[in-house]
Structure formats: C-alpha cells, structure tokens
Amino acid sequence: MSQEEQLTTTEEGDIAGRGPRPRGRLMERIAPSQIDWRSVVLVPLLAVFSALVIGALIIVLTEGPGDVIPAYVALFRGAFVGVSAISETLTAATPLIIAGLSVALGFRAGLFNIGVEGQMTIGGMTAVMVGFMLTGLPIFIHLPLAILAGFVGGAIWGGIPGWLRAQTGAHEVITTIMLNFIAYRFVDYLLKQPAIIREGRFDPISRDVLPSARLPQLLDWINPSLRLHGGFILALLLAWAIWWLLFRSTVGFEFRAVGSNPNAAAYAGMSVTLTTVLVMAISGGLGGLAGANQTLGVLYSVSPGFTSGIGFDAIALALLGKSHPGGVVLAGLLFGALRAGGQVMQVRSGVGIDLIVVVQALVIVFIAAPALVRAIFRVRAGEGAGQLTRGWSA
C-alpha cells in the first residue's frame, strides 16, 4: 500500500480507513449501480464495432481486400439468418454464458479465475463418467446426478486455487493457469484407461453418455438436426441464481464486500478466507457446469481439447457484461453469435475461426480501456476499468 494511492482515492473512504485499493470506485465502473447508457450500451457496441473493423483489416492483410465482405456476410448469416443459425447461436452461447458467470462471480469478489478451461475439462469429464458408468437410472435421476458431478468436479478444481489463495497467498492467476495444464494432462491420462476409452478405439475419446444422462433436445420437433438443448434453460436459470446470490443473499453481500474492500469486510467480521474458498469453489463449479453442458448436451463424450477455448472467451465475456449476470447473458449471446457465425465463415470463405478469438481479445481491450473508445469516437465513455484484481501479495 503506497501513500499516493490513499491520497488520490480518498473519495471512497473505507471503514478501516486504510483500504488497499479503491475497489468501490472500481466496482462502480465495471458494475455500475446507476445505469449510464453510454457506458453500458454505447461503449460495448463501439468496442465490438472497432474490434470487427480491426478484424477486417487482418483479413485484408492475410487474404486480400475482396474477402472481407463475403467473410462478414457469412458470419452474419451463420449467426442470425434462419432457425438453424439461431439454434447454433444459442447452442454456442450456452456454455459461454455459464463460463462467463463463473468469471463474473470471481470478479465480483475480487478474484480472477482464468482457470475456467481446466474446470470445464474436469467438470465435463466427471459428468461424462457419471453419464456412462451409472446404468439403469431414469432420466430425472441420472441427468441431475451427471450435472451435479460436473459441478462438483469443477468446484474441486476451482476450490484448490481458492484454498491456496486464502491459506498461502498464492495468486490465483498463476495457480489456475497451472491447474488448466494439469487438468488437460489428467484427462489425457483418464482417456487412456480401459474403463473410460471407447471400445475399439485407440485415439483418446471416452465412451458415450447414456441417453438417460443427456440434456434433452429442445427443437428436435422442428428438425432433428437442430442442436439447441436443455442446457440453454439451465444457463438462464443459473444467471438468475447468480444474480439472486450476489444481490439478494447475505452470502453474496459478503462476496461483494470482500471484493470491494477485503479489509473493511474483515473489520466487519466477515471471514475473508472462507469467502475466498467459497467464491472460487462456486466459480469453479460453474466452470464445471459449462464443461458438463458441452459433454451432456452437445458432444456426449470427452476428447482432448473439447473445451475449445470457451474458458478464455469467458473472461472477455465477463468484462463485456460488466460482471453482471444479465450483462453476461447478453454478452454470451453476442459471443455465441460470433462463434456460430465464425464456423460458417470458416467453411464459406476460408477465413479461419481463430479470427474470432482475435476479435474477442480486441473487444476486451476496448472494454477495459474506454478511454481508447473515447479517443477514437469522441464520445464520453467513463473511466477505465482501473484496478480490478489484487497484486501478488495482497
């Protein structure tokens, strides 16, 4: 804690009078209590627009100027035009929303969970294992059990860095990233075990989830190839549940209090240690659910890399949605559209889907630094997303 920090941030005085960071002002910026249409609507829209413009520039440089319009037209059609496109958009949005909630919950409590990839990997795996190992159960028992297994797997994987953070101060950014790699290797190992690998296969792929543990299709009465499944409803319910948890429950108040000012929270008698573990476990559990959603709703099995970067997209998504469950749902729909459209773009115009990752990274840049948007578009755009995470030793 340095002197000048206190001098410049006295407007948000904390109870203990010596808070480490101006968290309160920060939370106003990433999660405004009064809705300012410019920062909530205009800046995200301009950010997405700017990112797409730079994406177009990258296409011009790699493919030639003639490819921009066909690529973006394919992107748009693949995302919005027709029942099938909308079904794909919602299917892609589902895990993004759940994973985004996971990161957003962490942000609200001042923790940066970039281990959603690993939590998805483990959660997806545990869900699949319950999904094919338990047999003879009716769907209303088997499916909830498999989903619960996904949550528990992710909660353990997220709880470990939470516990390390609370007990030893090990920064969650490093530990969760390391646990991502450990999760990949662990699942690689599991996928070689005779009890898990699919019969007659030598490449790493698990057995199929039994029909009684699959998330039901929602639109198969229109066309059996439409992939939208019950996970979408689950994602919306989770968004509501996290909103309730954060803004209507005592536990959620403690989460936010610890996030805004750990010292004040401790002074008020809250357990920072317990809260940190609990937040990371729930956040990890949500990550696990995002993985379970993929394995029980779309893929029905696990193979290496099945998370396909969703856990990293979730970071952009949580920032774009201002760490509010409602915002995360909207941002998830947008990113789902980008993903679904990106697939079509890749097939139709040959522009690789990794471009979408670049666009998403640019979106975070513009969201995290509204001053950039302000400078480019000459609009009043509020302040930057100042200090959001805690340093090494806090």
């Binding site: 390390l164 690789g352 990794d354 840049v365 930057g384």
Partner: protein
C-alpha cells in the same frame, strides 16, 4: 505493504508462522514419500553417467541408501520449520530440497541400471532458457511496478515471428523480428497499463489472448498450407566454446549450448549490473518502490515505466524465439504451453532479482526435463503425470513462497501524476 500486514493480523495468525507450518507439513509429506516409495522400493545401485560419449565418468551409489539420507534430511527440515522456523533462507532451502527430492526420485528410477545425468542437466539448462527469459522480462517490468502477465503472449509471438521471418529471410533476421515483436506487444501493454491505467492483470491477459488468437489464426491461414515457405527456419546449432567446453562435466553442460543460453547469461549479468549498479537501475527501482517520491525528485515515472516494460518485451520476444530457432525448428499453435506463467513463478521464487530468477528457472527447467528423460527410463509412472511436473512444481513454489518474498512496493498500481 503495511496495510497488507495489518490485514493479516486482523484476520488470522501471522502469515509467516502459518507459512512455516505449511512448509513443515510439505517437508513431512516429502520425507514420507521418499522413505516409503523411493527408499523401500529400490534395490541395487544407481549409476549416473556424467561423461559425454566416450568419456567414462560415473557416479555409482546405493539408491536406497541415498533415499534414506534424503528422507532424514527432509524430516529434519520439517522439524525446524514446525518449531523454530527457517525464515529468510527458506527459498534457497526449498530449491535445494526440491533438487534432492528429484535426485532421490532419479536414483529410484535408475536403481539397478544407469542413467545419463549429463544429458539431463544439459536438457535442464536448455529447458530453463525460455523460462528464465520470461522471468527476466518480469523482473524488468515489476521493478518499475508494472505487472506483466502478458509474457506468455510475448514468448508465443516471438516464437511465431522467428519461425516466419526466419524462414523467409534467415534465422538471424528471424531472431531480430522475434525480439521486436515482443517489444511491440510490450508497448501495447505499456500504453494500456500506464497511459490508460487499465488493470494490469487484465491488460496482460488481453495480450495473451490476442497473441494466442493471432498466431493461431495466422498459423492456420498461412503456415499450415505452406510450411516450406513459412515454417522451416532451421535450428541455431550449439556453439562449442573452445577450452571451456573441454572441462569435464561442467563443460558440456554450460559451454556447449546454443546462442540463447549464452545470451541469457549475458542478459542476466547486464540486468543485475544495470538494476543495482547504475543510475538507471536506481531510478527504476525508486519508481517501483515509491513512484511519488521518485517523481518529486524529478524522475520521469512514466518514461522509466515505458522504457523498462519495452525492454522486458524485447527480452521476452527474444526468449520466445528459443521455442522455434533454439529447439523444435518450427512453429506450432500454443507451443509455449504456459512457460510464460512458469517464468512469472520463477520471478517470484527468485525474489524479483535477475540471478534469483535464473536460479529458479533452472529448478523449473529441471522439472521440465524430468519428463523428457523419465519417458526414456520407463519408470512405471504414466507419461501424462510426468508432463504435469513443471506445473505442479510451479504451484508448490508459488504457494510456498509468495508473501514471504516482498514484491516492489508499488507493484501493480498505476501512477497518477498530479
């Protein structure tokens, strides 16, 4: 820092005591593992070969005996930690303990046969190189209080640029391009973190996602279709330093390596000298510890921060070229596989000091080379678990050390000039 300590007092028992206890338990667990698995599970003598092909320098000893001694040392360390505490030297003790543990493990694996320790140590030095470059980049940035989580992305971009430019022109130009590309990303980080005061960890993560996305995109669009035109830079071969390379054991390990290894030592030496013996270093450290005081004395805080972050980026970009020009000879998607983050852990473990960072990187490099070498020995541990080793060691180190080591006082905080 004062606040952090008072928080700790408020909430729980002093953090130091707690860490001593945790480390004590860790040593107890290690002692138990060594005693039950390595000591009881190994028969016969282990032979470590220390000579190059043709040379005959062998180290033969009883694997079980060595393991018992190691277990006893760990038990002793555990007792000290649980009673008196070790305090400041505990990082050093922990590194030595980890190396001892690794040797006990190797002896167990090689019991009854022989094993080229020389080869393993050479791999260690090589594997630690990119980690050390990453750690050095982190030291430069954090000494001026800018947290650089984007090292991973800079390494990856360096690897990509060196492969592409190295193929189109020649490896040396590729090396230059890699260095510059790291600098460009660092400039991006600096602008976001210093000018726009974006949360530094977010800014770094953005750099990582951006680098991963862009290199993967370009790799799938361009490299995969035309590997001969864009992705065959070749490998910079080891340069044998005359005389020095003929010293037994040490020579082949230290003086028969490629340009990256030598460049690393020069960088570490220069950075150490620069940070602690020159005007620039004093100013940089002042900016990292107390920017307001530095500003009052007429030091341009922003300029120092831009300069150091840029330097850090150049070093990380250069280090990234190791992945292609120094080892594999071609670019693969996400080939850095977390080495940038391991570098950050090495920086923390090395207490924000260039030499410490290098030493820590060697420990991580050792863990990294374990899996390469043990794959050959076939010790009955699944290869997937061996591949976890560097990541597990990183977590243990970060958990055991953070908070004990003190980062620059203003680390991670943006500075607002009044």
């Amino acid at each position: 820092m004062t606040t952090v300590e008072t928080t700790a007092d408020l909430v729980r028992v002093p953090a130091e005591v707690k860490r001593e206890r945790i480390l004590g338990v860790v040593y107890l667990v290690l002692a138990a593992i060594v005693a039950f698995f390595f000591a009881m599970g190994s028969e016969g003598d282990a032979t470590f070969r220390l000579g190059e092909a043709g040379q005959d320098i062998d180290l033969t000893f009883s694997a079980a005996g060595f393991a018992w001694v190691t277990a006893a040392i760990f038990a002793f360390l555990a007792v000290i930690h649980l009673t008196r505490g070790i305090g400041k030297k505990s990082n050093l003790v922990l590194s030595i303990a980890l190396v001892l543990f690794a040797f006990a493990f190797l002896a167990w694996a090689a019991a009854g046969s022989s094993f080229s320790l020389l080869g393993m140590l050479r791999t260690t030095v090589a594997a630690s190189t990119p980690i050390a470059f990453g750690a050095l980049s982190g030291v430069l940035c954090e000494r001026v209080a800018v947290i650089n989580i984007g090292i991973e992305g800079m390494l990856l971009t360096g690897a990509f640029m060196s492969a592409v430019v190295g193929t189109v022109t020649n490896p040396w130009v590729g090396l230059l391009a890699a260095t510059l590309s790291g600098g460009v990303l660092a400039l991006g980080l600096a602008v976001l973190a210093i000018r726009y005061r974006v949360d530094q960890i977010i800014a770094g993560v953005v750099i990582n996602i951006f680098a991963l996305g862009l290199t993967s995109f370009l790799s799938s669009q361009i490299l995969v279709e035309n590997p001969d035109r864009f992705n065959r830079p070749g490998v910079l071969q080891a340069i044998r330093i005359p005389l020095l390379a003929d010293i037994p054991v040490i020579g082949p390990i230290l003086f028969n390596q490629n340009i990256f290894v030598y460049a690393l030592w020069i960088s570490v030496a220069l950075t150490t000298y620069g940070l602690f013996r020159t005007r620039w270093g004093l100013r940089a450290r002042a900016v990292g510890e107390h920017p307001k005081a530095a500003d009052t004395l007429g030091i341009d805080v922003y300029r120092m921060r831009y300069l150091n972050v840029l330097l850090g980026g150049l070093i990380a970009g250069f280090g990234g070229a190791y992945f292609t020009l120094g080892s594999v000879g071609a670019f693969n998607e996400n080939m850095t596989a977390g080495r940038g983050f391991i570098g950050l852990a090495a920086m923390i473990f090395g207490r924000w000091h260039p030499v410490g960072a290098l030493a820590a990187a060697l420990v991580f490099g050792f863990a990294d080379s374990l899996q390469v070498r043990l794959g050959i020995l076939d010790v009955g541990i699944p290869s997937d678990f061996l591949l976890m080793a560097p990541y597990l060691v990183t977590i243990i180190v970060v958990a055991g050390v953070v908070g004990r080591a003190r980062p620059p006082a203003a680390d991670g905080q943006p500075y607002v000039k009044e």
